[in-house]
Symmetry: C2
Subunit: 329 residues, 2 copies
DNA sequence: TTGTAGGCGTTATCAA
DNA sequence: TTGATAACGCCTACAA
């Protein structure tokens, strides 16, 4: 069954399409009597306007693109949920795309969003596609970065201060008299991981020390790399007594690995970027850095909506500072 | 800067819009020479077709709606990722909406998707909005249910056999000589939770027993309700020795609650619908039912695409059977 | 208060 | 092999 059009509703009621349109959009004059009849017909015929046609005519898609690197990561989905709430409440809808950390997919996604004529793009990017992103911004589209800045690009951004909090975390370990601190590093191609490592380096420097590379394991943010990481680092002498882990999946892996190695989970002090929610169920000496996806999402939603409304073009950078929390007593 | 149109590209090259369109869509005849020039101009001018206009003209949106009850739940997002992969590979895109278990939002979402003229809808529903859903199906749109059937509605569905596996789980506990088995129940408004409870009842019946209501705690799938649940059930005499928990969040809560109560986590045998990935980090006597979101997503993607291609209209019901896995040695 | 008609950017039909 | 042109469904001057 093909869909009803405004024309057929007009026929049915015996008025022009213009009148129907006026009723639908609540603008222009239309007598109470006619309005009534029109609304009735719409209800009765179950007419549903074609928003494709409307978008074409109005040259407004009322849609916003959201490009994420990992849809299965609750961190990003907490961000997404907030953004969607804000957008829906203002009559926008979200075109969400998962790039799975693949910059080729990201590139295609951006093209796709342009063809869909989204009015703005919110991006947690791979760090590539810089030229394309700037071209999009210059074409007048709003582009807001979340979670991950992109080097050399001066764009609106809402993110966490990974560098600072990582520095604090490692400083905390250093001040706790840990002589040998292992680092389970994230993939340096991802800017947040890079910033975390820079923070760690900075902490060492400020303490008048330097990081010994043999205590740095290059992980990839996965649980299994956390397992490999701890296994590798436990083979290094002198023995480490603390670990800084660049994300929670790897921290989880660290504990799994310690378990496999039959090491007392309390024997190593760990600081994890990102919470390990289940940590209270086993003995550990863990502190975590609590991230703030909900705040990021809320701010990003507010920002894109205000940008679309006001068309101001000041670049804004909101950098939130996560808190470190001790999980053991 | 307003976007380029096909007209301007045509001007630039000195041909008609029809020719540009032919090049873009690779149909109709166009000389190699002209094609070359057109592609050049497109590249040079950075022309990007307006897919809104294309959709209007072709009366095809090339989009599919995906309605989910909880975007922050990795279970649903694993489904979503598979669906998106399949759809994108066939040139469709996904309009994903999070209803947050709210049937009013679901209702609005469905209207929205209709107005967007999606070609099909994949729905993990709240169980409400039956009339609307049937009307949509009858209007010729493909509607595929995932994870959750909707009572009285005979629609395509891909889901897990909650009833059977729950029955197996509770039977296992009964056969393990547990005299008093606690049940942490999910919200009965959600069909999967209801099926799980029915499975439990059935297990008791087949063993010639009946469930004593005092051992049933009515939770709501949240962690905190798991905590309350175990606290309540531990107050019941005679003491229970086993628990069947209807989802993993509540199971997590069960262990947190036991910890708070200072009960040995191994002292109670637990079967959980849904995995507790971190269970190896603490002593327990836990078995889990492994769900299969990836399979569901893959099948749903395949099904909607084949439906859109072949327009066949047989109702298909694919019910997958999850496996139970013992987490302790 | 209502109707007429042109056009949004494409595609597709028909001629040339 | 190409071009002119009429739609697609809606909105919005402008006229009445």
């Amino acid at each position: 069954l093909s869909k009803l059009t405004i024309k057929e509703v007009a026929m049915e009621v015996g008025v022009s399409t213009a009148t129907i349109s006026r009723v639908l959009n609540n603008n222009g004059y239309v007598s109470e009597e006619v309005r009534e009849k029109v609304l009735n017909a719409i209800e009765r015929l179950n007419y549903q306007p074609n928003s494709i046609a409307r978008s074409l005519k109005q040259e407004k898609s009322r849609s916003i693109g959201l490009v994420l690197p990992d849809m299965t990561n609750p961190y990003f989905m907490l961000i997404a949920r907030q953004i969607q709430r804000k957008c829906v409440s203002e009559g926008y809808h979200l075109l969400m795309i998962d790039t799975e950390e693949d910059h080729r997919k990201e590139n295609e996604s951006l093209d796709f969003l342009i063809e869909q004529r989204v009015e703005g793009i919110i991006l947690a990017g791979t760090g590539k596609n810089k030229e394309k992103i700037m071209k999009i911004k210059e074409s007048g589209l709003q582009v807001i970065l979340i979670d991950r800045k992109i080097e050399d690009l001066n764009l609106d951004i809402i993110a966490e201060d990974n560098r600072k909090i990582s520095e604090d975390a490692v400083t905390y370990l250093l001040e706790n008299d840990h002589e040998n601190i292992g680092i389970i590093n994230g993939p340096q191609s991802i800017i947040t991981a890079k910033e975390r490592y820079e923070g760690a380096i900075s902490a060492f420097e400020k303490a008048g020390k330097t990081i010994d590379p043999k205590y740095v394991y290059q992980g990839d943010f996965t649980r299994s790399s956390g397992i490999s990481g701890i296994k590798t680092l436990m083979g290094v002498t002198p023995k480490l007594s603390a670990i800084f882990s660049a994300n929670n999946e790897m921290t989880y892996g660290v504990y799994l690995g310690m378990k496999e190695l039959n090491i007392d989970l309390e024997s190593i002090e760990v600081v994890s970027m990102g919470d390990l929610e289940f940590s209270s169920l086993f003995k550990q000496k863990l502190s975590v850095i609590m991230q703030c996806p909900t705040e990021i999402g809320g701010l990003a939603g507010d920002m894109i909506l205000s940008r679309l409304k006001n068309k101001d073009n000041n670049i804004e950078k909101k950098i939130l500072t996560p808190k470190m929390v001790q999980k053991y007593k």
